[in-house]
């Protein structure tokens, strides 16, 4: 069964070429980002001063609606961990002598931005800069009654540091995400089409009357798809790394292993589609239908933080959302399993449920 699938795949040169080069073409096409204003960015605060002045500043940040001051860190290390794990996208560090600095009109606050998502980062940085300028002007107005600045430096300064992607290159953010999206698209489509095509040509009938076991049939269908998907992923990673200069900071074996959990879910979706579709074009259309919510709502192009509430709820049902966090986490942040398990669990659950259901569905369809 597996041997037959490979001969067919090889014979179908066009499909093979497409399978390997479409992702590359897509990477080039989508290599450019779309900018949107992002509000309510989860923000972690490490306030070392505990002063009234600091609180006023933080209130100002919160009121801008750009920042959700949700987490209070107690150390720089904790703040780092929060950003690594993705629970916070922005970290604000207020120095212990903030009140004194402010009195001397030389206050500086550190703003750390997770720039692996440049849209969030840009928005956050712009918002912070605007806020700092506004505060500075008000402080000046209060004290010097319109005196010209002596040395030209503002009294309140936000020192912004962009982590992971210091130059805010969109491609670095978009490309790893695209790898995930492509993987999903090809596994779903290839799986659905390979079954539907057999049914359409009548060869599934030939297999059903043969003594071949259901699981043999399924393994024969899945194994080549998995292997092509990995080939595709490798190809995309090579392009990402050499053409788009995306840094690959994390462990590739981990990425490949976790991708398997994602692909079991998508292959399951593919099997489901094959049960519903009568013809190959129908299968393609159904597959396309599953891509739409995934592409728009998974945070691939638009940050989830910028979405309306309803869309955010859907976003958390879409498995690609979690997989994207894993891909970006491993590639851009270089983080390991200890930070990724919150994303892995939903993927595992989704994969197990969909895959089991689809296998049942598949067996029924053969009877």
């Amino acid at each position: 069964m597996i041997a037959k699938e490979f001969i067919q795949l090889w014979r179908d040169r066009l499909a093979l070429t497409l399978a390997l080069f479409v992702p590359v073409a897509m990477l080039f096409i989508f290599g450019w980002a779309i900018n949107t204003d992002v509000k309510h960015v989860p923000t972690a605060v490490f306030d070392q001063s505990g002063s009234v002045e600091a609180r006023t500043l933080l209130e100002g940040l919160a009121n801008s609606q750009y920042f959700d001051l949700t987490i209070w860190a107690r150390s720089t290390r904790e703040l780092t961990r929060l950003i690594d794990s993705g629970r916070a996208k922005v970290g604000i560090v207020i120095p212990p002598d903030f009140a004194r600095q402010l009195a001397r009109r030389q206050a500086s606050v550190q703003v750390i931005v997770d720039a692996s998502d440049p849209q969030v980062a840009t928005s956050a940085m712009n918002a912070a800069a605007a806020l700092a300028a506004d505060r500075s002007l008000r402080l000046l107005a209060q004290t010097t009654q319109g005196d010209v600045l002596r040395d030209g430096s503002p009294p309140l300064d936000f020192r912004v540091r962009a982590w992971y992607n210091p130059d805010l290159v969109s491609a670095i953010f978009i490309v790893p995400g695209l790898i995930g999206a492509l993987l999903m698209q090809t596994t779903i489509t290839a799986m659905a089409v390979s079954i539907v095509r057999e049914r359409e040509r009548g060869t599934l009938e030939g297999l059903v009357v043969s003594p071949i076991r259901r699981w043999e049939l399924l393994v024969g269908k899945i194994a080549p798809n998995l292997i092509t998907a990995y080939g595709q992923m490798t190809m995309a990673l090579i392009v990402a790394s050499f053409v788009f200069e995306v840094p690959i900071r994390g462990s590739l074996p981990l990425l490949y292993a976790l991708s398997l959990t994602f692909m079991f879910g998508t292959l399951g979706v593919g099997i489901f589609i094959s049960a519903a579709a009568r013809t190959v074009p129908q299968a393609m259309q159904l597959a396309f239908l599953t891509f739409l919510p995934s592409i728009y709502l998974s945070g691939l192009l638009f940050p989830i933080e910028g979405m309306p509430r309803g869309a955010q709820i859907i976003a958390h049902v879409v498995p690609l959302t979690y997989y994207l966090r894993i891909v970006r986490g491993i590639i851009l942040k270089g983080i390991g399993l200890e930070y990724l398990w919150p994303e892995l669990l939903p993927l595992l659950a989704f994969g197990a449920v969909i895959f089991t259901l689809s296998v049942f569905r598949f067996r029924k369809q053969l009877d």
Binding site: M1, A3, K4, I7, Q8, R11, D12, R201, G202, T203, E205, G206, L207, V208, V209, S210, P211, I212, D367
Partner: protein, 347 residues
Amino acid sequence: MQPDPAYAVLTRGLTKRFGRLLAVDHLDLVVRRGELYGFLGPNGAGKSTTLRMLCGLIAPTEGEGRVLDIDLRAHPERIKSAIGYMSQRFSLYDDLTVGENLTFYARVYMVPRAERDARIGRMARLADLVGRERQLAGQLSGGFRQRLALACALVHGPRLIFLDEPTAGVDPVSRRTFWALIRRLADEGTTIVVTTHYMDEAELCDSLGFIYQGKLIATGSPARIKSEMFGRRVVELAPADPRAASEALADWEVVEEVVRIGNRVRLILAPGAPDAAGVAVWLRARGLDGTAAAEVEPSVEDLFVSFVDRERKQRVREQLRALTTDQVGPSLVGGSGGAAGAPPERK
């Protein structure tokens, strides 16, 4: 049910219900070993459901059966490996070569590696595909595809094969070659159960079974069915006014059925009715024209319809006609006799 090696298929009260639909209704099917058995019936009559039960794909709702002496309720999986099956759609991979298709089915049917090449070679010779092993199945013409499909169904050496409308959409010459091939297989001892709509093909079978509405309504050898069970004359004529002629004939008590096909009229006459000349005389006596009245071979359709209740006749004819018109030609045998050894060519 007792095992009996004389029979390839033996069922008693075989029944399949889909919800409230009774697809197969207490079928007692008997196919002897080494026999070429023709299974006939319009679409929806229960043919394919019966075949699916006999192949071990679906379990019967009621009744019992043995296929190659394997109990079909107890060991459907064993039946699957023991039989061969070829569908109307041929189940070939167009993007695999002839040799690869054969190898694939040989592996699926678990032909031991040591025997595989020999068997594949034998199948290629049988299906006259030698020298074409490296051709893609998709590039073969209809007749070759059909024989390749048969070769694939036979690659594991089954003693019983089911052929589901194997000649649908295949040209007349290839049909003839194909039937010569399966006739030979049957003579060599392979039991063949084949469904068809063509009378000339049905006549090449050793036994026929007519199924309608899930019931077996007639069985026996073609000759027996024709002479004893049918026992009627079929007359065709081309009257000047087909409408007036058919209306008059419909009221004649010896006429069982009148069918108008374009400007021709086809009559099924009750046993003991006058012959074609008598029909022409009868018409002339009523001031009507009976040009070209001649006796013709009953078609599979005629045989079939004669087994069905009078009120259903018209509907069954329409069903059968819809089946045959989209295929190679009319299901009527041109002229009389002629079918000695091979199906005659269609016009």
